[in-house]
């Protein structure tokens, strides 16, 4: 019963986010605030339903799955949550036009991958590795940090789009709808600024867990190496921004590069069956 309710809740959540995506797109084109209000309401409804779905699934499974496609569901949840926080702080509904569809895409992807992962049982070695509060906190921090990086990168992409329009003296609909350079730069900086410490702490906990479980050659794992690269890129972003006072354009390119590696890491983590960090991968 609980599993059935969880499934219904998940599909209703996806339906609400689909509606929100359409309304945000319409808001972006028409600039009618009423549409953005409906879109935000639907996003909120989708978030509540998604939270309920995750909660019911965790109750049914006697614990939240933190591996495989389930992390995509958690990533979508975190993305919507962080979007709400950002939207509350800077009042920029236009980001919903980008971020809500991304959250929806993550949920759809999770639904596609879930059947393949459903029958997977962790090995004895995996159970030993995962059986720690450090792993739970590690996953939560990484998921939230990735959501922050995604928002920072979305803002950076917006920055570059607007900057290009300003340089070319274009006054397209895109130009008129996008928020100012100063505002997008601020959103990117804050999102990365909050995500980076979370990512660092998440990585640290992961490393501690690997060391304490005596995983040999843990640092050679491709996911660990990619995660180190992501950490270095966003570290460079913050250094360039605050240390060297680099231009918004340079910082924006660095943030986008960071997101490319976050996505690459997410794909590798779910597809490459090598190393010790392979939870939830078939085969």
């Amino acid at each position: 019963m609980l599993v059935r309710l969880q499934g219904i809740s998940m599909w209703l959540s996806m339906a609400a986010l689909t509606g929100a995506t359409v309304l945000y797109a319409y808001f972006f084109l028409s600039k009618k605030t009423l549409h953005s209000r409906y879109a935000t309401a639907l996003t909120g409804a989708g978030f509540v339903l998604l939270t309920a779905s995750i909660g019911m699934y965790s109750s049914a499974a006697q614990g939240t799955r933190l591996v495989g496609p389930y992390t995509l569901v958690l990533a979508a949840w975190a993305l919507v949550f962080v979007y709400f926080v950002v939207e509350h702080l800077v009042k920029l509904k236009v980001y919903g036009t980008v971020l809500v569809p991304v959250a929806l895409a993550l949920l759809v992807l999770a639904q596609i991958l879930l059947p393949a992962a459903a029958g997977l049982k962790p090995t004895v070695e995996e159970v030993r590795l995962l059986d720690s509060w450090r792993v739970i906190v590690h996953v939560v921090l990484i998921v939230f940090a990735n959501a922050g990086f995604a928002i920072g990168a979305a803002a950076s992409g917006t920055y570059l789009a607007l900057e290009a329009q300003l340089k070319r003296h274009r006054t397209t609909t895109l130009f008129k709808r996008l928020p100012s350079l100063a505002q997008t730069d601020l959103v990117a900086r804050r999102a990365v600024g909050w995500a980076y410490p979370a990512y660092s702490a998440g990585l640290l906990l992961g490393v501690l867990r690997a060391v304490e479980t005596d995983v040999t050659g843990w640092w050679q794992d491709p996911r660990v190496m990619l995660a180190g690269l992501v950490w270095a890129i966003f570290g460079a972003y913050l250094y360039l921004h605050y240390g060297r006072e680099a231009s918004g354009r340079t910082s924006a390119y660095v943030a986008l590069a960071g997101l490319v590696f976050v996505v690459a890491l997410a794909i590798v983590a779910r597809t490459v069956p090598a190393g010790f960090h392979i939870f939830g991968i078939a085969g």
């Binding site: 009618k32 008129k176 350079l181 231009s247």
Partner: protein
């Protein structure tokens, strides 16, 4: 009773004519008093702005009403009617309502979407109301027009984008810096255009103004106007490091700001963007400056392009505004319909007939045993009483409705008979006439053309 509009605007009359037919605020009371003292005009509102003068009136006759208003306009200003008529436009019936709604929505303004007109129409109505020249019809019409104005501004983006060069510069600066509060502008050259643009930027909260000019004394003069700081021309590029926005409008015949100069400035700015507005012709700033990172250069043509694009947007929004006008017109039309004499009389008769049959049925039940002939007699008696009782009042109502303030009789009759609850039925049963009715021979100005050739 007819709705009548006589007016002229920037579309039909040059400034030399428009300035002769103005009704400033302090003369509105006298003008309105003159206008409604005759038998022809029962309500009036005079809208007088720099681009239009429009006299809205509720008149007794169609053509007579128009003549009365034109005679008033000419008489009040001592103008020759033949001289004025070629510039006038006249509308009647629903065209008056649509014209007012378009004016309030700013669709008829020189700059479509400008915000002032709504306040000006409100002011005109306030004068009329205060001087007893607005009655039931104009109270409803003008209040509904304010609703149109508000809806158009809140439901469309008709007034959002800048449509002047100086405001376009402000709009672009805000695209870079979001808010101009706390920013510093550097005015290069003490020309009128740079002063105007600087004025708009200062009104948006710019923190400090630096002024540089070849003649230092002129820089000091302009700086004083903005409570800013005059800087020596030799210090231009040193002080440019402090500026966020540069407005250039010198009289130089060659570039005075080169790529290398700005590149040097940018190296000392810690990544802060610099927005340059070159409104000089010939240009002051080398176009290659725009290639530098974090530098945005707009010249006069670029700003004109922004203005043109914004004007096109306003035209698109105007189509949306027209939909709102149509909706509000239908609402006003429905209200007017309920004020018509024919549907009112029909509603009175229907109500009387309903009462008659109800009471007849009750009486016939008590008079058991009547023959068919007797029943017919009683029914004929009730019909005759009702018919004769109503004949006089309805005939007089019809006649009174055609007089000045006649709609007030209709309104009173509706209230006395308690017809408002039944108003919807009357609306469905009868077509629109009366106030929105056009005269038998509409004048050619219905299309907005002048009366004269």
């Amino acid at each position: 009773m007819h709705l009548t509009l006589v007016g002229l605007s920037h579309k039909t009359a040059p400034i030399e004519i428009r300035e002769k037919l103005t009704f400033p605020a302090h003369r509105q009371a006298d003008a309105l008093s003159d206008l409604i003292c005759g038998v022809q005009v029962s309500e009036a509102v005079i809208l007088s702005t720099c681009n239009r003068t429009e006299i809205y009136a509720v008149t007794t006759g169609a053509q007579d009403g128009v003549d009365a208003v034109i005679d008033f306009a000419c008489g009040h200003h001592g103008l020759d009617r033949a001289q004025l008529e070629p510039y006038l436009y006249v509308s009647q019936g629903d065209a008056v309502v649509r014209n007012l709604f378009r004016v309030v929505a700013s669709l008829d303004s020189k700059v479509v979407g400008e915000a002032q007109i709504l306040g000006q129409v409100k002011e005109a109505y306030d004068h009329s109301f205060a001087n007893g020249a607005a009655g039931r019809v104009f109270n409803k019409l003008f209040r509904q027009s304010f609703e149109v104005g508000k809806r158009v501004r809140s439901e469309t983006a008709i007034g959002e984008a800048a449509v002047s060069i100086s405001y376009a510069a402000v709009e672009l600066a805000r695209k870079v810096f979001d808010t101009l509060a706390g920013r510093t502008i550097l005015v290069l050259g003490a020309g009128k255009m740079s002063e105007l643009t600087a004025k708009h930027l200062v009104s948006q909260g710019v923190h400090s103004v630096l002024v540089a000019n070849r003649t230092y004394e002129r820089a000091v003069e302009l700086a004083e106007r903005f409570e800013g700081e005059a800087i020596r021309y030799d210090d231009l590029f040193t002080r440019m490091r402090d500026a966020d926005i540069v407005i250039s409008s010198t009289g130089a015949t060659h570039y005075v700001v080169h790529r290398a100069d700005v590149a040097g400035v940018m190296r000392k700015r810690s990544g802060r963007p610099l927005f340059l507005i070159d409104i000089a012709v010939p240009r002051d700033i080398e176009p290659a400056v725009n290639e530098l990172r974090d530098v945005f250069l707009y010249d006069i043509d670029d700003l004109s392009g922004v203005v043109e694009s914004n004007l096109e947007d306003r035209q698109r929004e105007a189509r949306q505004a027209q939909v709102i006008i149509d909706e509000e017109f239908r609402a006003f039309e429905a209200w007017l319909e309920s004020m018509e004499v024919v549907p009112t009389i029909a509603a009175i008769r229907a109500k009387a007939e309903s009462l008659r049959t109800e009471e007849l049925d009750r009486a016939l039940k008590r008079l058991d045993g009547l023959s068919e002939k007797d029943r017919a007699t009683v029914e004929a008696l009730s019909q005759a009483i009702v018919s004769k009782m109503l004949h006089g009042p309805t005939a007089r109502l019809k006649s009174a409705a055609a007089e000045k303030d006649g709609y007030q009789y209709v309104d009173t009759a509706r209230r006395l008979w308690g017809l408002d609850a039944d108003g919807e039925r009357a609306k469905r049963a009868h077509g629109l006439r009366g106030l929105l009715r056009l005269p038998e021979k509409p004048r050619k100005d219905e299309t907005g053309e002048g009366l004269g050739s």
